[in-house]
């Protein structure tokens, strides 16, 4: 299958490993990945911070860039959530019914990585090997906007050597929330502290998630406390062949 990669601006700018891993998993499974070079950002940060007018051109660019593709994947529940729940609504609110219809069509073909693997490609075992103790933070937007349910866990359970440990209070927000982490830094930090305690309680070596933004937040806190626990994107685990000859 020919799959267009929607990289997301954060992965592009800060954590390209999640993007590389997404490409590697899909190519290993025999699919052709294309990277539409016109993409920049889905506009979520602007919408969520209260700048819909600034976001609208980004939405138009996103729609134009991904319109030619049958299937689009992003290693981010949050950005797929934005495409699905904000793009058409934003265009409609701006009075552009045509763009709204095109945005809805692109959204219907856009998947978060675990959705693509499980629902579209019908897989739970992607042939990965990752001999580590891992706990999984489901992230609010994957959980509540996309309802990905246990798809990521099913994928992880099929990874060779991986010891999956349950995260207490998994469904609670880590306190990232985009600009919330900066505008309400004290509250965000208090939420992060509880999330980190839960991660440390699991004694996992690795905290995984399907959203680089939440991982950046949790990982930033764990690093500051020098806990030694690593944060790793789901895609990187699925791409891993650690220990396979």
């Amino acid at each position: 299958m020919r799959i267009a990669l929607f990289l997301t601006c954060l992965v592009d700018a800060v954590v390209p490993a999640a993007g590389r891993a997404t490409v590697e998993v899909l190519e290993r499974l025999g699919h052709e990945v294309v990277f539409p070079p016109g993409q920049t950002c889905c506009g979520q940060m602007h919408v969520n911070t209260g700048y819909p007018a600034e976001a609208l051109p980004l939405v138009r660019r996103h729609v134009e860039t991904f319109e030619p593709y049958e299937v689009v994947v992003a290693p981010s529940g949050s950005c797929v959530g934005s495409v699905r729940h904000q793009h058409a609504a934003l265009a409609r609110a701006a009075g552009d019914a045509e763009l709204a219809a095109r945005a809805a069509a692109v959204a219907a073909r856009t998947y978060e990585l675990s959705e693509l693997l499980v629902d579209v490609l019908g897989l739970t075992d992607v042939g990965a090997s990752y001999p580590h103790r891992v706990t999984y933070h489901p992230t609010c937007h994957s959980l509540r906007l996309l309802r990905v349910g246990d798809r990521p866990l099913r994928l992880l359970r099929a990874v060779r050597g991986l010891d999956l440990v349950e995260l207490p209070g998994a469904e609670e927000c880590c306190g990232f929330g985009g600009t919330f982490a900066v505008k309400n830094a004290d509250t965000s930090t208090a939420m992060l502290a509880d999330k980190m305690r839960a991660v440390l309680d699991t004694r996992a070596e690795v905290c995984a998630a399907g959203d680089s933004s939440c991982l950046l937040h949790i990982g930033g806190g764990l690093s500051r406390l020098r806990t030694g626990v690593r944060t790793v994107h789901l895609a990187e685990i699925l791409a891993s062949r650690e220990g396979v000859a």
Partner: protein, 497 residues
């Protein structure tokens, strides 16, 4: 089209706004006792709610029905309110209309004065808190006694409620015992000197103190959970029985009700009497449901219908559904922000997620500009709301209406410009890799200038890697990427890299 649209907001904002949220939250977050009290209480009630909601197989249909009834009511509010007025009047009650809190307070004060009473007993009510009725009555020389246990604790503690349903949620038992011992004697029957902090002992002290008030008061003031337009029936739902004492003992009853509390018919109530107790206290059925239509023999009944900004909310199609709210407080109990900050940080009688959308709409968003940002948009509030108010989407809608700080606006515009073309975006990413120079030990950025210092106060940031994604893609896949699928090269083409 039968809805009032675009009426000017007439509202006294004193009970609906306070300090900016981040500032008020900072103090709350730093109080470990408060954090513990809130964390324990919300966790308990969250679990209870989840259990009893899980028992109802058609919860989602009930929820949809609740939302639909409220939307229908809001779309026909003008005619339904007139119907309510006619029905209440026909049954011997008197209906008063109040545009704002000043008008409502004046009406109630005059009604109490006309009876010659200088004290009233109160049933817990959000509407009277919203208008600051107790303070207005006190200014007129009338003492208003709260009879709900938690409200009593708040009142005696000279405090403000911090939760819609459990106003004293921020207090623990030891604190409550102290308040009772210190304050009860000054305003009525004192607490027994040997009072312990066991819940039955505290409840008994409150009960004895309140009994005196019930028996002497000649006027009661209540809110209303629901009003039935067709029959003129008012309803109060509560769990201690104090409400029923107030509603039946004093010869004069004054009810202050927000105009959105209406439902069209008696049958509509059955939906809400299932949704409300499970969502709020985690009970299958609430212990006391009182209903009355107009005045009963020997009793004088007045209904004050309060606007106070509600018609302005009704005028915004994207904000209107906030008026579906039945004040169950389920959204507070699941909100991770509320759990850390408590209700006082919201500076309004409506705290938590619903407060973050309702208060700015009632006052006008510019007067409560920080509240729409008092959320990480995690979506837990929407999931539990029994009338399916999409609070996260509404928060985002309100964020677009509040005034933005100039530096933030500049950054957002610059980012939008850079993201407006792939060429400009690629250029900023090269610049961001120059941010590698900021990197401290172990490839981590540990300190950034304001406003990003909010992030680095407690979190590191990874240094952008030397090879960005696009460089990697060009190196491994060539450039530009294929615009059309490459011709079939025989074989399965797996592992295209």
């Amino acid at each position: 089209m039968s809805t009032f649209l675009g009426l000017p907001r007439a509202v006294d904002t004193s009970q609906l706004r306070g300090r900016p949220f981040p500032e008020a939250a900072r103090a709350a977050v730093a109080d470990p006792q408060l954090r513990r009290n809130l964390g324990d209480a919300t966790a308990t009630i969250r679990a209870k709610r989840a259990r009893v909601v899980g028992e109802v197989p058609d919860w989602e249909s009930l929820r949809a029905a609740g939302a639909a009834i409220k939307d229908h009511t809001l779309a026909n509010l003008d005619s339904l309110l007139l119907q309510l007025e006619a029905a209440v009047t026909a049954r011997g009650g008197t209906v008063h209309w109040a545009r704002d809190s000043a008008e409502a307070n004046r009406i109630v004060t005059e009604l109490v004065r006309a009876t010659g009473a200088d004290e009233v007993v109160k049933v817990k009510s959000m509407a009277t808190q919203e208008i600051g009725l107790n303070e207005a009555l006190e200014a007129a020389g009338i003492a208003a006694w709260e009879t709900d246990l938690a409200e009593l604790i708040v009142q005696l503690g000279h405090d403000k409620p911090s939760h819609i349903l459990v106003p004293a949620i921020h207090r623990n038992r030891a604190e409550i015992r102290e308040i009772f011992l210190r304050e009860m004697g000054a305003v009525g029957l004192p607490a027994p000197a040997d009072l312990t902090d066991s819940p039955p002992a505290l409840a008994e002290a409150a009960r004895r103190h309140l009994r005196q008030k019930f028996l002497s008061a000649r006027v009661a003031i209540s809110g209303a959970n629901f009003a039935v337009a067709a029959t003129g029936t008012l309803s109060v739902v509560e769990s201690e029985g104090n409400g029923r004492m107030c509603l039946t003992l004093p010869p004069t009853l004054i009810t202050v009700m927000g105009i959105e509390k209406l439902v069209p018919t008696w049958q509509d109530l059955e939906v809400f009497l299932q949704l409300l107790p499970r969502s709020s206290t985690g009970e299958r059925m609430n212990p006391y449901t009182s209903m009355w239509s107009g005045a009963v023999e020997g009793q004088d009944f007045h209904l004050v219908l309060l606007d106070n900004g509600r018609t302005a909310v009704l005028g915004d199609p994207s904000g209107r559904s906030a008026l579906r709210c039945i004040r169950c407080s389920a959204c507070l109990n699941v909100c991770p922000v509320y759990e850390r900050t408590g209700g006082h940080a919201y500076g309004s009688v409506y705290p938590g997620p619903i407060g973050a959308v309702l208060s700015p709409q009632l006052t006008g968003p510019e007067l409560n500009a920080t509240l729409p940002y008092a959320s990480s948009l995690c979506g837990a509030c929407y999931d539990v709301c029994p009338v399916a108010i999409d609070i996260p989407t509404m928060l985002v809608h309100l964020r677009a209406q509040v005034p933005h700080p100039a530096p933030e606006r500049a950054v957002m515009r610059a980012a939008a410009y850079a993201m407006g073309s792939p060429r400009r975006w690629a250029a900023t990413r090269s610049a961001s890799r120059a941010g590698r120079l900021l990197g401290g030990r172990r490839g981590r950025i540990r300190s950034l200038p304001p406003p990003l210092s909010g992030w680095t106060a407690s979190r590191d940031l990874p240094v952008p890697p030397a090879e960005g994604f696009r460089d990697w893609w060009t190196r491994t896949h060539g450039s530009p990427p294929p615009a059309t699928p490459p011709p079939a090269a025989g074989g399965d083409g797996a592992g295209a890299a």
